[in-house]
Symmetry: C2
Subunit: 364 residues, 2 copies
């Protein structure tokens, strides 16, 4: 699962709906249709709410606005179905943002799954997806298993290799439970995503050995600060710890998102930096939904009640932390760094947006 | 990918077809229908040919025969479709062996995929699957992406946990290429499968740190011999190396194989030790098959040509080693340990099988 974090000291909090409206207003001002802008805003704000700020407003919005103003990202994409059967389709995304388009593709997958049991959609020629779990959760709320993957620009070396050949290529799977939180996995197929390195880079804190390779591809075995130059390693880290497995999982993501969509894989493609994949499996096509959800409840609870090893924290399950963060942040407000509000003021003035910047919530 | 091995010193080699016939003959003698026995023999012999003897004749056949003689494994299972839609089905396997039944389920998945683009089948109430890649490859030969997973008995602790909560739950994915070998991934979602420990246990050789937990669930950080008591760890090994990712992948396998099939997950189930999952994605439903295979060729070749890091072996891709092993072993004969041929003589006499034990191939 992506690293979910408690809001840090010094963060300001704003009302989620105010933030959504403001973000959407910025996006429509740079040319996005209102419907796509509202969707993008919800995808971003939900990442912040679920404790994944690396995929939220603070980290992503500037780049999206910049890309649309420069014309790299198409603000008014027209999705076209390139190939289709009852349970499958390939969509060309016309250089549009995955944050806006993947929810539509997932709705198409859900409709197919409702009819046939399964819906699988590949999305080529797109831009950034946001938090993959967002899209998987759309299916989950329809009592389906939701799957979402994205093939990202090269950042990872193969086991024994010296050059970047794969993206961090995350996989998200969301599965509904009953009274318990849904199972939500969302993780890079590299040991860590680049975003995990931001804090240690800033603070100079030591990172574990086997997290990174040096510029020539050698695994950095010893703990230490993040070096000036580095390359990411596949999940597992070193070959003896099974990095061939993380590497293969990253290749599977590339196959499902890029090659199956008729796009070139990362490193062989100069056109679009991202291709995506969404799928929905309708639980009712396989088994009784209520029994399934009740067993998910019992199983997740049993996992979380596993006696910890001596001196260890409690056992956590995928989705537990993000569900807790979301409840907390809906209650207290979306946490943002103060500099983001400053940038909001600047960009608002620059673009001539009439809507006011969301006001920080003050608590008694 | 599963550890593929060059045949060790002292192995004897036998003709693949002779071995298939002999294995099938043993299985029919303990009550299996000829069709199922032939299928089981091919699944096992193919594992030996592809350099995965842990899932081949030597390692598995004794247990299967024992299980059928004792009645745990049903030698004459009747598969029944519990639930079905155009792209989905759940099958009850009537306590039959996955090695015989999963190929049938995959054929059903392929037929669904041919009609709708995708076919997904869950298989509950079954016994051992053999090499998962075998079943994935059936779809691959039909120009489809084949997926196969199996939820196995508990052997793995959760991150921070002290008790076994998941099986090694492997995932196999097979993807066709053109002139290159197919992409074939087949790996446990634990750091290593139990079978990887047999050799170091026998020889006393040291294994890397972070491969295992001790009896209380503490990660064994330092290299050393395999301890008397141990527990397997999820892929990643330790929490700071991302073992929550391996854990979540193992849970996804359990969800897809067990919960989605209406079966209880490992640790909550007293009835059947294995549940399986097979799926086929028809490439032609998404994109042009010939272009897809040509790009797979180029991409696999580019990966394998990645300049190695200083002092490292060449970069390998999933399926490369097993394809090479298969070509070599088809040429030279299936490698078996000499004690397996001795056991063949014993069990042949005990069961009253008329067929002779395969003769070792002698080379000039």
């Amino acid at each position: 699962m992506q690293q979910t974090r408690q809001a840090e000291e010094g963060m300001v909090r704003v009302q989620p709906d105010e933030l959504r409206r403001f973000v959407s207003s910025l996006l429509t001002t740079v040319g996005m249709a209102a419907e796509y802008a509202d969707q993008a805003a919800d995808t971003l704000v939900t990442a912040d709410l679920r404790g994944v700020p690396t995929h939220g407003v603070s980290s992503m919005l500037r780049g999206y606005i910049h890309g649309m103003r420069r014309g790299w990202i198409n603000a008014t994409p027209e999705m076209s179905v390139v190939s289709e059967r009852a349970s499958a389709a390939t969509i060309d995304c016309d250089r549009g943002l995955g944050v806006s388009l993947a929810p539509r593709a997932m709705v198409m997958a859900i409709e197919k799954a409702r009819a046939t049991g399964v819906g699988v959609i590949t999305m080529r020629n797109a831009y950034h997806l946001g938090m993959a779990a967002y899209h998987a959760l759309i299916a989950c709320r329809q009592d389906m298993i939701g799957i979402c993957m994205t093939a990202t620009p090269p950042a990872v070396v193969p086991p024994n290799g010296s050059e970047l050949r794969l993206g961090t290529n995350p996989i998200a799977v969301a599965v509904p439970a009953g009274r318990m939180h849904p199972f939500v996995f969302d993780a890079a197929t590299s040991v860590v995503a680049a975003s995990r390195l931001q804090a240690p880079k800033r603070t100079g804190a030591s990172i574990p050995g086997n997290w990174l390779a040096d510029a020539e591809g050698r695994v950095i075995r010893e703990p230490g600060p993040v070096p000036e130059e580095y390359k990411l390693l596949p999940l597992g880290g070193s070959p003896e710890m099974g990095s061939h497995k993380g590497f293969a999982l990253g290749m599977i993501v590339e196959i499902m998102c890029s090659l199956l969509a008729g796009a070139l894989p990362a490193g062989m493609d100069r056109r679009s930096p991202f291709n995506h994949f969404v799928a929905a499996y309708d639980i009712a096509a396989f088994t009784d939904v209520q029994v399934f959800k009740q067993r998910m409840d019992e199983w997740l609870a049993a996992m979380e009640e596993t006696p910890p090893a001596p001196g260890c924290d409690p056992v956590r399950t995928p989705g537990q932390g993000s569900t807790e963060a979301e409840a907390d942040n809906i209650d207290k407000g979306v946490p943002l760094r103060p500099d983001v509000l400053e940038w909001f003021e600047e960009i608002r003035a620059e673009l001539g947006v009439s809507l006011a910047v969301p006001a920080p919530i003050t608590r008694p």
